[in-house]
């Protein structure tokens, strides 16, 4: 039980076995974060570079903590402190970092495909921490771990994903991973935020939130990405909120044991009501805890074997 992958660029390339291995490994790693000494020597002497060209607290901190708990040396580079400000292009940045022999480069970038691009120019393993509106595989994996923990298994579960589907990398990674694990996915949002022909990925589309969650096992609320928004998508945030904000009133229509997840950061009162965030079925902070375990598992699985095991 192991994976033979060099990079984690997306969940699209991951098979059922790969995902199960990652989830099982992460499950074993969770215990380390509850010890008084939260560190194991596994990746001693290995180097992880966090290369973040977009703002992030959760994901960057999570990768940094994950690396440090495995005893790797973690270096953080953010967009504003990198040579990108001086005009260096991404490929040159990657080549220069490569010259310092890191073992893993974690990259977040506003352009779709950035992680894959630099993977062609480095020997290090690349982990995609979000590339444009393309993929954010570690988020999808931690979502699956959280769901699996509470539901026992993933097969046959019905997930409703609500919000700006078109601009969300979290959704795309989740759709690929969830379909691979045999789950049903239903997307809900205003028509302007749902891409044309998305049904071809094997998902259902609905525009009525209360209706869509009636038989759901999990509901995932997405953040309204006000920084990527243009005025043509929504008449107003208030109207969006009226129709798509998860309130306790709408939640009454859902099954009792529904799980509520959100990739964060949350716009309180816009996509999810305050009292729903406090609801015991809301697992937003469990997701953050699981994020560290997933990232530890991936670093371990990428670096625990020898080079000839990699493809």
């Amino acid at each position: 039980m192991s994976i033979a992958l060099k990079n984690i660029l997306g969940t699209r390339g991951l098979g059922r076995e790969d995902i199960s291995t990652i989830l099982n490994t992460a499950n074993a790693f969770k215990e380390i974060s509850t010890r008084p000494i939260k560190k194991v020597p596994t990746l001693r002497g290995r180097t992880v570079i966090n290369l973040f060209f977009e703002p992030s607290t959760r994901t960057r901190t999570s990768f940094e903590i994950a690396g440090k708990r495995l005893s790797a040396d973690v270096i953080n580079i953010t967009g504003s402190t990198s040579s990108a400000v001086k005009g260096e292009n991404l490929i040159d940045t990657a080549r220069n970092l490569e010259a310092m022999n890191p073992d893993i480069i974690v990259i977040r970038h506003a352009c779709a495909g950035a992680a894959e691009l630099i993977s062609h120019f480095t020997e290090s393993s690349i982990i995609n921490a979000g590339d444009g509106a393309h993929e954010h595989p570690t988020q999808a994996l931690l979502d699956l771990l959280t769901i699996q923990e509470h539901k026992g298994s993933l097969d046959g579960l019905r997930v409703v994903i609500v919000g700006d589907i078109a601009h969300s990398r979290v959704v795309r990674s989740n759709i690929f991973a969830m379909k691979t694990m045999g789950m049903d996915v239903r997307l809900v949002g205003p028509p302007t935020m749902i891409p044309f022909e998305i049904e071809r990925l094997g998902v259902e589309v609905s525009h009525n939130l209360a209706e869509a969650i009636r038989d759901a096992d999990v509901i995932m609320m997405l953040r309204v990405q006000t920084e990527r928004q243009n005025k043509f998508l929504l008449p107003s945030l208030r109207e969006y909120s009226n129709l798509f904000c998860l309130t306790s009133e709408k939640l009454e229509r859902a099954p009792e044991d529904i799980l509520i997840i959100h990739p964060g950061p949350v716009n309180r009162g816009i996509e999810i009501a305050l009292d729903v965030m406090q609801d015991e079925r809301s697992l937003i902070l469990d997701q953050v805890t699981n994020g560290v375990a997933i990232r530890m598992a991936l670093m371990y699985l990428l670096l625990g074997g020898s080079d000839d095991g990699l493809n």
């Binding site: 039980m1 192991s2 994976i3 033979a4 099982n24 490994t25 499950n27 074993a28 790693f29 215990e31 380390i32 010890r35 008084p36 000494i37 560190k39 194991v40 020597p41 596994t42 495995l70 598992a297 371990y300 699985l301 990428l302 670096l303 625990g304 074997g305 020898s306 000839d308 095991g309």
Partner: protein
């Protein structure tokens, strides 16, 4: 039949595995009972005692020992399970990352007499990793070692305190411990491989 680079046919000697059962169900049960008594004798009871089994079969043996000790002393001895994968000194030498399973030590180690339990003691590297892992959980009063089989060939200065059976082996032998909970049968097998390939 093979074909060597110089164009001469040859027949490789077939690999033969000779296996013999050296410990059966009763032997294992007697050894566990004796070790349970020895542990209690040496530690003068079970007050400060805790058993930690090394996954997979060490954990099973630790469970059996704990049950036995609980019977003898009418107490409930602390029991933990240790997965040493993350402390191994050979990570990165096998093709893929070895599987990691859960470690479960839910009691404080401070001031405790810890008995590490494993099935086979060989090079001692597993025990080195286990001691390192244990120390990350706290500072026990003592750490002792109990094994079902000691097959020799130590590569580190490690010596067991409780031994089920001393088994002289050669390095080409394999020793397999099978336990009902994990393998459906209680036995220890010594495998002698003749004409080993590679």
């Amino acid at each position: 039949m093979g074909f060597d680079p110089e164009g001469v046919f040859f027949c490789p000697e077939p690999e033969i595995q000779l296996s013999s059962v050296i410990f059966n169900e009763k032997d294992i049960s007697r050894a566990v009972t004796r070790i349970a008594h020895e542990i209690l004798e040496k530690n003068k009871g079970a007050d400060k005692l805790a058993l930690v089994g090394i996954r997979t079969r060490g954990a099973t043996l630790a469970q059996r020992l704990a049950k036995k000790i609980n019977e003898i002393e009418s107490t409930t001895v602390s029991l933990g399970i240790l997965d040493i994968t993350l402390y191994r000194d050979d990570l990165g030498t096998s093709k893929q990352s070895p599987e990691v399973k859960k470690t479960d030590i839910s009691f404080s180690l401070e001031g405790k007499d810890i008995v590490l339990i494993d099935d086979v003691l060989y090079t001692g590297r597993t025990i080195r990793a286990a001691i390192d892992a244990l120390i990350d959980f706290g500072r026990p009063a003592t750490v002792q070692l109990g094994v079902l089989i000691d097959r020799g060939h130590r590569e580190l200065p490690i010596r067991p305190d409780y031994i089920g059976k001393n088994l002289p082996t050669s390095k080409s032998n394999q020793v397999q411990v099978h336990l009902k909970e994990d393998d459906g049968v209680d036995e220890v097998i010594l495998i002698n491989i003749l004409n080993k390939k590679g």
